[in-house]
C-alpha cells in the first residue's frame, strides 16, 4: 500500500516538475509547482513527518504560491518566447543536468546507511516532539528565524514602496 502511494506521489512530483520547466505561461508553472508541493507533502506523510506536511501545505502550497500568483496577476500573463541569446543553451544545460544527475547518483550510491535506533513512531514527527526540539535544543535558531522573517518583511516593504521623491 505504502509502495503504491509512494509511486503515485513520485509520479505526480516528477510530472509537476516537468510541467514547471516546460510550460510557456508562468501561471501554469506556478500551478504545476503546487502539484509538486502537494505530492511532496504526501511523501512527508509517508516518512511520518506530520508537522512538516502541515507546514508544507500551509506555508508553501498556500502562502508562497499565492504570493507568486499575486505577482503574476499584477503584471499580466507574460509569455516567454523561444529565442535564446546564447546559442546551444538547451544543449549545454542538458549536458550540465546529466552531469549533475550522475554526480548526485554517485554520491547517493556511496552512502553508508547507519542502522537506526529503534524509533517510537507514535511520537516521531508529531507536533509535540517537534515543539520539544524547537523550544529546547534549537530555541536560539528558532528565535533567529523570527528576526529573519522581520528583516524580509521590512525589505519587501522597502523595495516595493512608491518612489515619489527620487523620480
Amino acid at each position: 500500500m505504502a509502495v503504491a502511494v509512494f509511486f503515485v506521489a513520485a509520479l505526480m512530483a516528477v510530472a509537476g516538475a516537468i510541467g514547471v520547466i516546460s510550460f510557456r505561461e508562468p501561471i501554469r508553472s506556478v500551478l504545476s509547482l503546487v502539484v509538486v508541493m502537494i505530492a511532496l507533502g504526501i511523501l512527508f506523510l509517508l516518512l511520518s513527518a506530520q508537522f512538516v506536511f502541515v507546514a508544507q501545505i500551509i506555508v508553501y502550497a498556500g502562502a508562497v504560491m499565492v504570493l507568486f500568483l499575486f505577482v503574476i496577476a499584477l503584471f499580466g500573463p507574460a509569455r516567454e518566447f523561444a529565442r535564446a541569446n546564447l546559442r546551444f543553451q538547451s544543449w549545454l544545460s542538458a549536458v550540465f543536468a546529466l552531469g549533475l544527475l550522475i554526480l548526485i547518483w554517485v554520491m547517493l550510491s556511496g552512502v553508508q546507511y547507519r542502522q537506526p535506533e529503534k524509533t517510537d513512531l507514535t511520537l516521531f514527527g508529531t507536533v509535540q516532539s517537534i515543539a520539544l526540539g524547537l523550544f529546547t535544543t534549537y530555541l536560539y535558531p528558532f528565535e533567529l528565524t523570527s528576526l529573519l522573517l522581520l528583516v524580509a518583511a521590512i525589505g519587501a516593504i522597502y523595495l516595493s514602496r512608491k518612489k515619489v521623491d527620487d523620480r
Binding site: A2, F6, A13, V14, A17, V20, I21, P26, S29, V30, V36, L43, F44, L46, L47, S48, A49, F51, V52, Q56, V59, A63, V64, L67, F68, V71, I72, L74, F75, A78, R79, E80, A84, S90, S93, F96, A97, L100, L101, W105, L108, V111, Y113, R114, P116, K118, T119, F124, G125, I130, G133, L134, Y138, T145, L148, L149, A152, A156, L159, S160
Partner: protein
C-alpha cells in the same frame, strides 16, 4: 540495506533520495533554460523542495528529528527568499517590462 517498514509494507530510503535528486536536477535545468525571471524563482523553489525531501528522508532513516527541524527552518528561509525576490522583481517590473533575464545583466538602479 536501508529498509523502512511502514504499515506492514516496505519502503527503501534510496527511492526517496533518487526522487529528490531528479527533482533537484529538473529545477536546475529550469534555472538554466528558462528566461522569465519569475519562472527562474519558481525553479529555485523547486530545488529547495527537493532538498527538503532529502532532509526528511534522512531524518526518518536515522530516527533523528533534527532533519525535520532543519526542514522547518528551510521552509522559513525559502518563504523569506520568495518574499524578497518577488519584491525585487516587482520593483524591476515597475520601471520596465522584462521578459528575458538577460535584459537585467546590469545592476544599476
Amino acid at each position: 540495506m536501508s529498509d523502512m517498514t511502514l504499515g506492514g509494507s516496505h519502503l527503501d530510503a534510496s527511492w526517496f533520495l533518487i526522487l529528490s535528486a531528479i527533482l533537484f536536477t529538473l529545477g536546475a535545468v529550469g534555472v538554466l533554460v528558462r528566461r522569465n525571471p519569475l519562472v527562474i524563482l519558481i525553479c529555485i523553489e523547486l530545488m529547495l523542495n527537493a532538498v527538503n525531501l532529502t532532509l526528511v528522508t534522512f531524518s526518518r532513516q536515522l530516527g533523528n528529528l533534527e532533519g525535520q527541524l532543519f526542514t522547518l527552518m528551510s521552509i522559513t528561509v525559502a518563504a523569506a527568499e520568495a518574499v524578497v525576490g518577488l519584491a525585487i522583481l516587482v520593483d524591476i517590473f515597475h520601471t520596465r517590462d522584462v521578459e528575458d533575464i538577460d535584459e537585467l545583466s546590469e545592476m544599476k538602479g
